[in-house]
Each structure stands twice: as structure tokens, then as C-alpha cells.
């Protein structure tokens, strides 16, 4: 009788422990992805598409870059963060400042705060969709990415 009771108690404890584990959020890895534009001509507006090839990326924040003349943090394409769409995001930003106030050279234009879940290492690819000067001319600029795990 008491052996059965013990067995039942153990079973209940195991189920409770399993339920508790299931209720806990899965621990993800938080990293940042810095997006740089390299251009001798000051960039006043830009649009970037970022893809994560393994489908593990979850954007959890979008931070401004180093050029303080871009007042707001970059905007993002809403549809890309809808259900199931975790592998791609389109970002854009603009500044109303004059060309001489804008930075040139290698400039960090955005920092993405990212959470990844699972064992696979993320594999990022970025594409500069468009870049323009303060008077609306397109620029042929380069794009770099730098990832950094959360310290």
C-alpha cells in the first residue's frame, strides 16, 4: 500500500517537474548585430534588408547608429516580424540634416538586438537596398556587419 503510494507520489512529482520545465521560457542567446555603411559621400537615407539563413533570428530591438543627426532609431518593415517570419527584416532611416553635418567613411547606421534559440549558429546576410544623399541622389555604398555576443 505504502509502496504504491510512494510510486504515485513520484509520478506526480515527475509530471509536475516536467510541466514546470515546459512553462519556463526557452533560454535564448542575446547578441547584437552592427550594420555599417562605407561611403565617401555622406548618407542621408538608407534601406537595408537583413536575412538570417538558418531561421533562428528574432529581432528584439533596433538601436540608432553612431550618427546623432539621425534622430529616431531606424524603422522596420512590420510584415517581416509577423508570425513565422523570423528570418528577414527590412530597416530604413533618414536624416533631415545638411550634408556637412552627416558622417562619412565607415559609419555604423544601426545596431540590431537579436535573440537566437537552438544550437545552430546564425548566418547573416545583409543587402543595401538603397542609399541616398541629402539632396536625393542615390549612392553606391558598401555594407558591413559585425556581430557581438551580449557581454
Amino acid at each position: 500500500m505504502s509502496w504504491r503510494l510512494l510510486q504515485m507520489s513520484l509520478r506526480v512529482l515527475c509530471v509536475a517537474a516536467a510541466l514546470q520545465l515546459a512553462a519556463q521560457p526557452e533560454a535564448g542567446v542575446f547578441t547584437t548585430v552592427d550594420v555599417f555603411v562605407v561611403s565617401d559621400t555622406p548618407v542621408a537615407a538608407w534601406q537595408v534588408e537583413l536575412t538570417e539563413r538558418r531561421g533562428t533570428m528574432q529581432i528584439v530591438g533596433i538601436e540608432s547608429g553612431d550618427d546623432s543627426s539621425f534622430r529616431d532609431p531606424p524603422f522596420y518593415d512590420r510584415v517581416a516580424t509577423m508570425r513565422g517570419a523570423t528570418d528577414r527584416i527590412v530597416l530604413a532611416s533618414f536624416s533631415l540634416s545638411e550634408a556637412e553635418q552627416l558622417q562619412r567613411g565607415r559609419v555604423r547606421i544601426a545596431r540590431l538586438h537579436v535573440r537566437t534559440v537552438g544550437a545552430a549558429q546564425p548566418d547573416y546576410e545583409a543587402r543595401l537596398v538603397a542609399a541616398g544623399t541629402s539632396d536625393g541622389r542615390p549612392i553606391d555604398a558598401q555594407l558591413n556587419l559585425e556581430t557581438q555576443p551580449g557581454r
Binding site: F30, V60, P73, T81, R83, H113, Q148, G150
Partner: protein
């Protein structure tokens, strides 16, 4: 369990510190023997007896004292006694005899929070239970104690263009403690706010939040919090109640959260109103409420799993949180007059532009801020604003339909007027006095041929007469007597009030006008609005929000579902004036069967789908989508027996993307109403709300904003959660609304 609680407030004599109050409480408790001790005072209380002169106590349900001895045995009594001139003696009577509990001197107050009933008293045998006499500092003449809490300041900056406002709200959280904290703050926003931006600021760094499905956002936030990353999460609990969480704020450090929303201004009788609510009022949650919003004392941590809870500061406490508001108004037409609920500084910049700010820079957030401006009398007319999304070529519009001037020339038909008054504890004091004054003024305006009824509800419903009576002088005199004795006490079983007002047989000769007077402090809004949807029939509900921080989501919802209008009666407003406006409105026939002639324009998803009646002085706003070129648009309707039609001026391309957000917000509201009607919280309607919110980046019941700073972990564990306690709204009594068992 203690089943009686007597709290004495001393106006001038007690130390105001918490320590002082705690010591006083301890001393007082020690002075009253527990129920199981021997002696003449042993045993549970059977009644509380107050003795004093006839000039003695006033206020509460036993006031004024009619005799020199008064007995209180009601199990739910929440009573305030105040000695004016002579001392009062308050004694508890037990089986073994009576015992003096307290004496109330002139200038002091005594609260009897709950007296015993014989039924419960017999079960009260636990050691340490019995009567607890607490001495706490009062607000009168004693500076409040400052409670250290994380929310320091709320900054509100609004830009009003025409009748659309864009509002930036920045909440500044700062950790005043020696260890890391998570700050949790429950706050109100306008019920139709389209919240579409969220930015977390740490020092100079700005991190834009991402809108995600609610559960997913919650998972991300909890994960970040557990790992020590700074994060923030915004959750919607009601269309007008939101919860802000900010994780891992280090000692002495500050994190700001910025929220942006759009909404449309209300227009009534020549005035536009911009409203910014500052505090969530304490709600009553009937038993079985599916999603309660509890009103708890600041130090109560017991309700975490039961749903949403607002923690309140005592009247003797305040936090450092204050609020600053500035508004730039460009009305588009000349502004003739500006007025506000608070003291303001106004700078004019031309006829149609004004810059408004709170005088002194900031204020305590315990009542709604309301800015009203009146524009030139003849310039308000029906008009159409459009916006076309260049990328998708999708058009959005808002159409303000203004009642035709000739509507005011006709008289109304006789009505069956049903006044329904909330007489629950939160209405006690000034709010119920305002409600009484409003009904008194309304009774003056009834006409021969009208009938009327008065109903009041708290735990149950009472009524003036068994059925509606004719508006004769004698009946009105008797009604005034009935209204005079209405007080505020007990719970808010509003569902019973709604059923009573809409449930009795209809009068074929008269349209039923239900005039609902309440602060709306209840947590079961969805059930209430669902009941009105089901039972409204051809009656109309006109809701009056009584108080300084009322539940506008409920009051607007009652008027919408009841096809009437809403009005607000602040505690310093003239009840006569507000009622005069109301009767002016209903004394003219409404334009019924209102329809819009789009003249071939392809419109879709138009809200409201069924146009309400158009009352004099109250325009309606219609919002929808269109494709193609906007041509001539006209309005048709029926005024009594006569058909009327009038044209809308040329459409104005507003170039405001806000129209898209406002349309999406109304679509979500419409879907939520259909969901309420269907009684199904999940299913296809929930998916539609979720999809609309995600597509338009809007907060909803199914979507939340989350922002994480993944660049750096903070040291130490996940930190202690600190709930931001708030003051009860001005005019609302803490003692009758915030109690531990709510």
C-alpha cells in the same frame, strides 16, 4: 480572522511617518485584547455602539447621528464618523460585556471599515483576532509621507492637428533602492488610442521596441530579464489600461520608455476635448469576473496570480511621480476659447494656433487632464479627410458628419426616462453628491407626457417606484426625496443595474432613455457591454461619467452600444449645466436612418458599420478605406417624418499617415465588439485582431511591444519586482474602494 476593523485618523496629533503609523498601530492592537483572552472584553464583537451628542458624527451611512446612541451591526458597513464639537465614544459589545474602543475628539475622524455579524463572529476564534484599532496619520494638516518608487516623471507632448492628435508619452523610471529592480506600472491611456511606437532609452541610446504576439513578447522579456539584460514590455489589459514592465534597472540608474499614439478628439456642443488620463481608478470585480483588475493596498503582494492589480498609495502617502503636459494645437480654424481642468499657461501664435502647458511645469497625477477649445461657431461642418498610402495605393478616410442646423428647430416626443445611479463605495462622497445634483436638475426638465423611474445599484438594485411614473409635480417631489437619501456604499454589481433598466416591459408610446450615472470603476466591462448589446432593443443609453478619472472605455462603450451619447461630469463641474446640455440634445429629434451616399466610390471596412442616430451638437466620425478618386459625397437621413439630405464639402488630402493607424484601431475595436457579442475570446475574430494589429504595428489584446538591450548584461540576479503604487483619483475615497479582500 479579524472581522471588524476600526481605523482612527487623527488630524493633527500623529507623526506622519510610516514608522509612526506602524508604532501607533502596534500600540493600538496591543491595547485591545484578542478575542480568546479572558475578561469582560473577551469574545467576538456583536456590535459597535457610537454614543455622542446630536451635533457629533456626520458622513457615511449612519450620519448624521439621529439619537445619542447608535448601533452598527451591518456586516458590510464602511462608515466615517467625525466629531464636530463634542467627543464621541465608540464601544464594541461582546458576549461578556462592552469595551471602549476609541474616543473621537473634535477634528478627528474614525473609520469603521467593517462591523461584525453574529454569523461570522461565532467562527472567529483564532488567537489574535477580534477588533483591531489602528491609528494612522490623516491628510489634513499633516504632510504626506513620500514612498520611494521607481517612476519619477511622466512627460506628455501632444500635437493636435484639426481633430487628430499625436501624443508622445515618456515614462522615466529610476531605481531608488540599493539593489536591482524590475519596475511594474499599470497606467491608463485614452480608450481609442492607437499605440504604434515604443522606444526604450538608456542614457543616450535609443532602442526601438518590436511589436510581437503577446505570448511571444512575454517570453522574450522573461528570458532577457532572467539573463540580466535590460528590457521593457508593454501589455494591454483593457483598451484603456496598459502595463509597463522594465527589467534590470540598476541602483541609481534610469531607463526611459517612450510610447507614441494617435487618437481623435471628441467634439460636443462647439467644444473639442483633448483628454489625458493619469490614473486607473479602483475597480470593483464581481465574483467570477474573468479578467479582474483588483484594487489593492500598496504593500499587498498576494494577488499576482489572480489577474491584474493596481496598487494604491494611502491618503497619507505620495510618491515622487509627477506629470508634465504640453500641447501644440493647430485647429485649422480660429480658436475662440481655451479652457482646462488644470491651471495652464497658454501662448497664442495666430488665430488658429495655441501652445498649452501645465502651469508650474508638472502636477500630481491623480485626475484626468482635459483641454477644451471652442472654434468659431459657424465653421464646424461636415468634412472629409483622406490619406493614400503611396506604396499600396490604399486610401483611408475620416468623415466628420455634423448634424444639420434645422434639427434644432423641432421638438421631441415624450420619453420614458430611466435614471440608473451607481451607489457603490467608490461613488461615496463628492461623486454621489454630483450624481444627486444631476438627477435633481434633470427632474426639473421633464415635461408633461414624460414618465420616469429611478434605480440605484451597489450589491443589489433598488428603485423609486414599482414601474415608471408620470412626471407630475407630486411624483417629482417624491423622487427628489428618494434621490436625497442616496449614498455610496458596497460593491458595483452593474450587470444587475443594466438588466433592471433594460429588462422591464417597454412603453409603446415612449422611447426609453436610460441615463446611467457612474464612475465606471468595475473590472467586468466586457460582460456589461455584451449584456447591453443583447438587450438594448430600441432603448437608448446616455452615459454620464461622474468623477475626475472615470473609466471612459466603459462609459463610451455604454453609449455606443446603447446608441446614445456620453457626457462627463467632473467633481467641480456644474451638474445643472451638464444636464442642461444633455436635455438640449435629447429635446430635439435625432437624425435617424443616417446613410452616406459615396457616389460610386469603392469604400470598404467602414466604421461604425451601422451609423448611429445623429443628435444635435454631436457629430459622428466615420472611418474607412477606399480606392479610386473621391467625388461628391452626400448624407441622407430622416428627421421625424421628413427625409433630409445634405452634401459634404470637397475631400481634403490630409497627408497624414495617422489616418491609417486610426482606421486600424477602429477595425480592432469593431472586431472586439463582435467578439464580445459572440462570447468567444479565441477563434477567427481573435486571429483577425492579431493580424490587423501586427500589420499596422498597433497594440492590442493580442500584441505587445518588447525591447531588449542585448549589448550588455547587468550584474547580479533578476532583481526584485517593485509595483508602482498610484494615488486614488481625486475625489475617490481610499477607505471605501481599496480594501484587502477586493
Amino acid at each position: 480572522m479579524a472581522n471588524a476593523y476600526v481605523a482612527k485618523k487623527r488630524a493633527q496629533h500623529l507623526a506622519s511617518t510610516l514608522l509612526g503609523a506602524a508604532l501607533a498601530l502596534f500600540a493600538a492592537c496591543s491595547a485591545v485584547p484578542p478575542a480568546d483572552q479572558s475578561g469582560s472584553a473577551a469574545g467576538p464583537l456583536e456590535e459597535i455602539v457610537v454614543t455622542g451628542s446630536r451635533n457629533g458624527p456626520r458622513g457615511g451611512s449612519v450620519s448624521p447621528l439621529q439619537a445619542e446612541r447608535q448601533v452598527m451591526t451591518s456586516p458590510q458597513a464602511i462608515v466615517t464618523l467625525e466629531a464636530d464639537e463634542a467627543a464621541l465614544r465608540v464601544a464594541g459589545v461582546r458576549p461578556g460585556g462592552s469595551q471602549l474602543l476609541s474616543q473621537v475628539q473634535p477634528g478627528e475622524e474614525l473609520w469603521v471599515i467593517q462591523t461584525v455579524s453574529a454569523e461570522t463572529a461565532t467562527e472567529d476564534t483564532e488567537p489574535g483576532s477580534g477588533t483591531m484599532l489602528a491609528l494612522v496619520a490623516a491628510t489634513r494638516g499633516v504632510p504626506p509621507t513620500e514612498v520611494p518608487l521607481p517612476l519619477r516623471h511622466t512627460d506628455v507632448r501632444a500635437v493636435v492637428t484639426g481633430y487628430i492628435s499625436a501624443v508622445d508619452v515618456t515614462q522615466q523610471f529610476e531605481n531608488p533602492y540599493d539593489e536591482k529592480i524590475e519596475a511594474v506600472y499599470l497606467f491608463p491611456l485614452p480608450e481609442k488610442a492607437a499605440v504604434n511606437e515604443f522606444v526604450m532609452t538608456i542614457g543616450e541610446r535609443k532602442i526601438r521596441g518590436i511589436l510581437r504576439e503577446k505570448e511571444e513578447a512575454q517570453r522574450i522579456y522573461e528570458d532577457a530579464r532572467a539573463q540580466g539584460y535590460r528590457a521593457s514590455l508593454l501589455v494591454q489589459h483593457r483598451p484603456n489600461i496598459f502595463e509597463q514592465k522594465v527589467a534590470n534597472i540598476e541602483p541609481g540608474k534610469r531607463i526611459d520608455v517612450n510610447i507614441r499614439y494617435f487618437h481623435t478628439l471628441a467634439y460636443e456642443d462647439g467644444w473639442y476635448s483633448f483628454v489625458f488620463p493619469t490614473v486607473v481608478g479602483p475597480r470593483y470585480n464581481p465574483q467570477g469576473s474573468k479578467s479582474p483588475v483588483a484594487a489593492l493596498p500598496r504593500e499587498n503582494f498576494s494577488n499576482e496570480a489572480a489577474g491584474t492589480a493596481v496598487r494604491y498609495l494611502r491618503p497619507t502617502e505620495r510618491s515622487a511621480h509627477d506629470i508634465g503636459i504640453s500641447i501644440d494645437v493647430d485647429a485649422g480654424v480660429a480658436i475662440e476659447e481655451l479652457t482646462a481642468s488644470h491651471e495652464i499657461v497658454t501662448r497664442r501664435d495666430g488665430e488658429s494656433v495655441a501652445h498649452v502647458a501645465l502651469a508650474g511645469g508638472s502636477t500630481m497625477p491623480n485626475r484626468d487632464f482635459i483641454l477644451k477649445f471652442r472654434v468659431a461657431g459657424e465653421t464646424i461642418k461636415t468634412n472629409l479627410l483622406t490619406y493614400t498610402d503611396e506604396r499600396t495605393e490604399q486610401g483611408y478616410f475620416t468623415l466628420l458628419v455634423y448634424p444639420p442646423a434645422r434639427q434644432t428647430a423641432l421638438r421631441r416626443q415624450p420619453v420614458e426616462m430611466v435614471f440608473v445611479v451607481d451607489t457603490s463605495g467608490s461613488m461615496s462622497g463628492q461623486p454621489i453628491a454630483q450624481a444627486r445634483a444631476a438627477i435633481d436638475a434633470a427632474l426639473d426638465r421633464l415635461e408633461r407626457g414624460d414618465t420616469f423611474q429611478i434605480m440605484n445599484f451597489s450589491y443589489d438594485v433598488k428603485q423609486f417606484a414599482s414601474r415608471p411614473v408620470a412626471a407630475t409635480d407630486e411624483n417629482i417631489r417624491r423622487a427628489r426625496d428618494y434621490v436625497r437619501q442616496l449614498g455610496g456604499q458596497g460593491g458595483t454589481e452593474m450587470l444587475s443595474g443594466i438588466r433592471a433598466a433594460l429588462g422591464f416591459p417597454r412603453d409603446a408610446e415612449r422611447t426609453r432613455f436610460v441615463t446611467f450615472l457612474t464612475d465606471g470603476y468595475i473590472g467586468n466591462e466586457v460582460e456589461i457591454l455584451g449584456e447591453v448589446q443583447r438587450t438594448i432593443g430600441d432603448a437608448r443609453i446616455f452615459s454620464f461619467g461622474v468623477g475626475n478619472s472615470v473609466n471612459r472605455y466603459l462609459l463610451d462603450g455604454l453609449a455606443t452600444e446603447g446608441r446614445g451619447t456620453v457626457a462627463y461630469l467632473g467633481l467641480n463641474d456644474s451638474a445643472e449645466e451638464v444636464m442642461a446640455y444633455y436635455f438640449e440634445r435629447i429635446s430635439r429629434p435625432a437624425l435617424t436612418d443616417v446613410a452616406i451616399d459615396w457616389n460610386g466610390l469603392a469604400t470598404t471596412d467602414v466604421y461604425p458599420a451601422r451609423l448611429p442616430d445623429l443628435f444635435a451638437g454631436r457629430p459622428i466620425v466615420v472611418t474607412g478605406k477606399f480606392r479610386g478618386r473621391v467625388g461628391d459625397v452626400g448624407i441622407r437621413g430622416r428627421l421625424g417624418a421628413e427625409r433630409v439630405a445634405f452634401g459634404v464639402g470637397a475631400a481634403h488630402d490630409s497627408q497624414q499617415p495617422a489616418l491609417r493607424s486610426l482606421w486600424a484601431r477602429l477595425r480592432i475595436e469593431d472586431l472586439a465588439r463582435r467578439q464580445t457579442r459572440s462570447g468567444d475570446p479565441g477563434g477567427a475574430l481573435a486571429n483577425s485582431i492579431r493580424a490587423t494589429a501586427l500589420e499596422h504595428s498597433l497594440m492590442s489584446a493580442y500584441t505587445s511591444f518588447v525591447a531588449v538591450d542585448a549589448s550588455e548584461r547587468t550584474a547580479g540576479d533578476r532583481g526584485t519586482t517593485v509595483n508602482q503604487a498610484v494615488p486614488v483619483p481625486a475625489g475617490v475615497r481610499y477607505d471605501t474602494t481599496v480594501i484587502a479582500d477586493r
